[in-house]
Amino acid sequence: MAGVVHRPRLGVVKFASCDGCQLTLLDLEDQLLDVAERFEIVEFAEATSRRSKGPFDILLVEGSISTPEQAEEIVRLRREATLLVTIGACATAGGIQALRNLADHDAFRRAVYPRPGLIESLPRSTPVSEYVAVDAELYGCPISGAQLLELLTALTVGRRPQLPDEAVCLECKRRGAVCVLVAGAQSCLGPVTRTGCGALCPVFGRGCYGCFGPREAANSESLAAWFAGDGASDKEIRGLFAQFNVNAPAFRRIVEAGRDGEGSVR
């Protein structure tokens, strides 16, 4: 492309995850050609057979760290990346697979696999940030295409990406959706969940699943107490918080508070 001296080298890699987040990049259909023009995509297994081990100007990392090999590989990749951005609930919080963090990992291994000795996995599924420094995080299961585009745009323009850590409720109200918690008596995690999805579920009349994880100052205890007062059982409340971001501290507190009949989420 004439006039451009250096296109930033963009890489997309994954660890323990479903690939849904990196597909969000491919789903940016209207902007994909612009992205490919602005960035030199050097590693993106879902999109190209061209491969690279680095270096990267920007590396998007999907997935949680779940095996010993992954724990080594992420350290190597960190050295190759100028900006390392984790994408999605797995990479930022440990993902749905972090449910095992609350249970006996060995028992799972023996129950599921005929020859458990062949399975090498870590007892905990953890976010990338437990192993290496992370420059930015995109949350969600999956991430939002708009936020991914905002990140890439901000990097080209040279500003801080606008990724607010306020509650989903603000976007719900801006969009004029009726609160499903107040009007529908639904157990909605919106008030304690980070915005970014555009209030996707509440706009369609469904309570928030919390897939973007806890926002800053998430007062999960107060919300859980309200659900309990509304008649939800401890099990139901734990189930709400034990989803894609179960390993995020503000959600995990609730899940652990009511386990094994010890204590109550209230």
């Binding site: 612009d34 992205v35 080209t156 323009v157 109200k173 609160c179 107040v182 009007a183 008596a185 100052a217």
Partner: protein, 665 residues
């Protein structure tokens, strides 16, 4: 028959809707949607909520179908009229022109004419409150004025109150007493119509209605009397605004924070909350860029964030800001309560926090004896206090202008001074201590102090603290930058006459003081001693080094400099700036002090000045806060009753009182 009132049979309600639509007007009215009564555009009267009611309680709203086919028997729903007068997202500035030559262009609202059908007494009061905030000056919100000015208001007298309603205690209802074009009272067989304006009169004339009968009038009166009974007498609320503001250390704040989710729902459903942030939309090609104003809330963490810090990190601080502003400092700022008693913040709080109970607990007032179906609480407003104010004319909109970089001086490793040229008369009419908002495409527009005024331009001294300030620092000669200002209240130079002047500052804090020093030197014969005490982290972190040396040699001003860490080249003093003051000024009975720097430095300085006996009335500090507009409209920079941007940024300590140096305000 009753003079001045007409009767519209129930079956003919659509005639009213159609006459409102005449001339292309959009009619906004209550409708049934998603489990609640929401305001929405309607084309016929069939879309109104015939026979629907809503049961409300703290944290709960339930739509119920009623036997009677009445239309307006609901308390206010989650939507308020501000969605149309003050929309959640509005484009503010577009950048036009090519690279390096791009100018900020305000986006003008082009609203369709609108009729609001079904406006309650509390909501008329809310519109009047926002008129005062956004359209009464000194600077008006042009977008708001454009959307608000030609609204046709069709009010409705409430016939039922929700459990969370408390209009009668806020003095805004239940009766509709003004601020409407036409007012409806719903009777079983139709609507009694009153006229409140010329436009309303024309509308009613066009309908050709029969005058209302004495029986119909009496029925309307009986309904209102019954509603008054339901609302009950207001509880005692003596001195409530003052009590709330004084309760800054109440243990209740921390207790509320245990329950409060800081989710911001209360502020976004509130019909008077007006705080916004400015966000950027830009294209991947770096060319197209628009800045957008969005509803924000004092409950978000980013709301009070500045480069390198945050003034309200704790949820209890955020809740206190909201409550004391809404019921307390709003009075000082706008001459009215910020609350109209509509009850939305109670109904739509996801965990049912009842602001009526919290106010009473914080203010130490007795709670209402028994909780009736409607729990009235606070009476701090009289109806007269929220009468609609005249919308200010458009010329008080603070415009964006531009200036060109003519030279650039590197001051320290991360600070530059830009000399800007402009022929915009507004930009050239600044005072020492004022600041500008400085905008570049696709970036936030931060406040920047003016560090020198020239007849043909001004200087900005900027530290690269974030992306926007870094981009400003990187501007080269010939580039343009968008500016709004100069704004704010600057240094009271005249008060320095005949006094010893002590200027204490640290690091980049010298920048807003430089125009003051310029002015004091210009009128050197009018003050006694001039002393500048300047501290910096290292010798290399000092601004205007050559200029300071020149001034010191000239002898018109004494300059004491000190650094935290010296290098081999530094032969001056090492230590904190307060040590310099100590030696410089021993007798302070005729001293006036001007200070600027990090809050810690200013607090230490003030402590020394207090010990030396300098009265608070003669100590002036310039404060830093998050600002998105610079003209008192975005709400971010509030400190107690002040908007730092328009009431400051320069304040005397006497004005600030205990707010100075107090964390969390």
């Amino acid at each position: 028959m009753v003079a001045g009132a007409w009767f519209l049979p129930r079956a003919e309600l659509d005639r009213l809707v159609q006459s409102l639509r005449a001339g292309g007007r959009e009619v906004i009215a209550p409708t049934v949607g998603e489990g609640a009564i929401v305001l929405s555009g309607v084309e016929t009267a069939d879309e109104l909520p015939h026979g629907w009611g809503v049961e409300v309680a703290p944290g709960r709203a339930t739509l119920v179908k009623r036997a009677a086919e009445r239309v307006f028997d609901q308390p206010p729903g989650p939507t308020s009229w501000k969605r149309w007068t003050f929309p959640p997202r509005v484009d503010q500035i577009e950048w036009i022109g090519a690279n390096g030559e791009r100018l900020p262009q305000p986006v003008a609202a082009q609203p369709k004419p609108m009729a609001f059908l079904g406006v309650r007494a509390c909501e008329i009061a809310a519109l009047a409150v926002q008129d005062r905030v956004l359209a009464a000056g000194p600077v008006v919100d042009a977008d708001y004025v454009a959307r608000r000015k030609d609204n046709l208001i069709v009010a409705v007298e409430c016939a039922v109150a929700g459990e969370t309603c408390f209009c009668s205690t806020m003095g805004t209802g239940p009766e509709v007493t003004g601020g409407f074009d036409v007012a409806l009272s719903e009777l079983d067989d139709g609507f009694l119509i009153r006229v409140g304006s010329t436009a309303g009169s024309a509308l009613v004339d066009g309908l050709g209605l029969a005058p209302v009968s004495d029986v119909q009038q009496a029925a309307a009166r009986r309904a209102m009397a019954a509603l008054r009974d339901q609302l009950g007498p207001p509880p005692p609320t003596d001195g409530l605004p003052e009590r709330l503001v004084a309760a800054v250390d109440s243990p209740r704040w921390a207790e509320i924070a245990q329950r409060c989710l800081a989710c911001a729902n209360c502020t976004l459903v509130c019909p008077t909350c007006f705080c916004t942030s400015v966000g950027q939309r830009s294209e991947l090609d770096g060319q197209g860029a628009t800045s957008e104003r969005r509803w924000d809330s004092c409950f978000t963490l980013d709301f009070a964030r500045v480069a390198g810090g945050n003034f309200r990190t704790r949820v209890e601080d955020r809740y206190r800001q909201w409550l004391t502003h809404k019921f307390g400092t709003w009075w000082s700022q706008f001459g009215t309560s910020g609350c109209v008693g509509c009850g939305r913040c109670i109904t739509w709080c996801p965990v049912g926090i009842d602001v009526r109970a919290e106010i009473m607990a914080v203010a130490g007032l007795p709670a209402p004896e028994a909780v009736p179906p409607v729990a009235p609480v606070v009476s701090v407003a009289s109806a007269a206090s929220v009468e609609s104010v005249a919308l200010a004319p458009g010329e008080r909109v603070m415009p964006w202008a531009s200036a060109r970089v003519v030279s650039k001086t590197s001051e320290t490793a991360d600070v530059v001074t830009l000399r800007l040229a402009t022929d915009d008369p507004g930009l050239l009419a600044g005072q020492p201590g004022q600041f500008v908002m400085a905008a570049l495409p696709a970036l936030a527009a931060p406040p920047v102090s003016v560090s020198r005024f020239h007849p043909d331009g001004l200087e900005l001294t900027v530290r690269a603290a974030g992306a926007a300030t870094r981009a400003i620092c990187n501007l080269e000669r010939g580039a343009t930058v968008g500016l709004r200002g100069p704004v704010g209240r600057g240094w009271p130079v005249d008060l320095a006459e005949g006094r010893d002047v002590l200027i204490v500052t640290g690091g980049i804090g010298l920048a807003p003081l430089r125009p003051l020093i310029d002015e004091l030197l210009r009128r050197r014969d009018r003050s006694a001693r001039l002393h500048l005490a300047y501290g910096a982290r290292t010798p290399g972190d000092r601004l205007y080094k050559a200029e300071l040396d020149r001034l010191a040699a000239g002898g018109e001003i004494e300059i004491s400099q000190t650094v935290d860490r010296a290098g081999p080249e530094w032969l001056g003093r090492v230590g904190v700036v307060t040590q310099v003051i100590d030696r410089a000024f021993c007798s302070c009975d005729r001293t006036i002090a001007f200070i600027c720097g990090p809050e810690r430095m200013m607090e230490a300085t003030v402590k020394v000045l207090h010990e030396r006996g300098v009265p608070d009335e003669r100590v002036f500090a310039t404060l830093e806060r998050h600002m998105d507009c610079g003209v008192g409209l975005c709400g971010h920079c509030q400190l107690g009753r002040f908007f730092v941007c328009k009431d400051g940024p320069v304040f005397s300590l006497a004005e600030l009182g205990p707010a100075f140096g107090r964390e969390g305000l």
